[in-house]
């Protein structure tokens, strides 16, 4: 058991445990803080997978921007603790859904060849080339990322930019409308 294994099990436990504590905590502020723990551990797992850029992005976008937004909204709305008990039928149906999905995952790992010997090991990353025929090669460098984004995924990145613009306009309209509800319109 080498250092990578220990790190994997540590951060895997931290991410799943943080998630579990998040869905179990009654008050939203501790829930948000547990969520940050979970997201940062997922970033560490990205580092273990040698996707360094995505790890940085995970910390900046999720643990930074998104969770700050969540905490700000919790402060703005002054949400109190979740009163009352969680209904039993919901817990049972949720567990049943998870269980059936788990069986699906196990069967997939068992019979699809993902768990076979040749695909069950890590190959070395070739850092010399960017493309091999039609496919982009995995690399730790940011250059390959940008190359992929602006060649093969040119249209999706434009659509993503438009989506961000649409979301910005939508949010402004939403917050304006709720201010002037019952107004002249």
């Amino acid at each position: 058991m080498n250092a990578v294994d220990i790190l994997f099990y540590f951060f895997a436990t931290l991410s799943v445990g943080g998630g579990l504590l998040m869905i179990m905590s009654r008050h939203p502020v501790p829930a948000a803080l547990f969520m940050i723990i979970s997201l940062v551990s997922v970033a560490a797992l990205f580092v273990l997978l040698e996707a360094f850029f995505l790890a940085i992005l995970q910390v900046l976008v999720y643990a930074g921007a998104v969770m700050v937004l969540f905490l700000f909204i919790i402060m703005l709305l002054d949400v109190g603790p979740d009163g009352g008990k969680v209904s039993r039928i919901k817990v049972i149906s949720g567990l049943a859904g998870c269980l059936s999905f788990g069986i699906l995952v196990v069967l997939l790992l068992q019979f699809s060849g993902i768990g076979s010997a040749e695909s069950g090991s890590w190959q070395e990353i070739q850092t010399t080339e960017q493309v091999n025929g039609d496919s982009l090669l995995f690399s730790t460098s940011l250059k390959n990322f940008g190359y992929g984004l602006f060649t093969k995924y040119m249209l999706p990145i434009q659509v993503a930019g438009f989506l961000l613009l649409a979301a910005m306009v939508g949010v402004i309209v939403l917050s304006k409308k709720s201010l002037t509800s019952g107004g002249t319109e």
Binding site: M1, V4, F8, S15, G19, M22, I23, P28, A31, M35, S38, L39, V42, L45, L48, L49, A51, F53, L54, Y62, A65, V66, L69, F70, I73, V79, D82, G84, V86, K90, V91, S93, G94, C98, F101, G102, V105, L109, I114, S119, G120, W122, S135, L136, L137, F138, S139, G148, K152, A160, L163, L164, A167, M168, G170, V171, L174, S175, S178, S181
Partner: protein, 102 residues
């Protein structure tokens, strides 16, 4: 104990997804439901990156980039909807939003 394989990452990704799904089902606070949705998206991201790393293909990682973009957008719009809802009904609990029920 055996060394870490891609299957370990897939099992972890399933666990994250399952925890997020459980949160979406059992929580009644809509803020926590949104957070659980984020956790589900994170589970999917772990699976995509591990597949990308295993097959030495960058496409999976690029998709994670787009998933992050869409998730951030979704949170911004969702929270704006939540604030608008709170102004109208003074509550963020899902059982209080029952206008279409009955």
């Amino acid at each position: 104990m055996e060394t870490v394989t891609p299957q370990h990452f897939l099992v972890l990704s399933f666990l994250l997804f399952a925890v997020g799904f459980l949160g979406v089902v059992i929580r009644r606070n809509l803020l926590l439901v949104l957070m659980s949705l984020e956790l589900m998206l994170n589970g999917v991201n772990v699976a995509l990156v591990s597949f990308s790393r295993t097959s030495l293909n960058l496409d999976g990682s690029l998709f994670v980039f787009f998933i992050m973009t869409v998730a951030a957008t979704e949170v911004a719009v969702g929270l704006a909807l939540l604030v608008a809802l709170y102004k109208k009904r003074q509550s963020v609990f899902s059982e209080d939003i029952s206008l279409l029920k009955n």
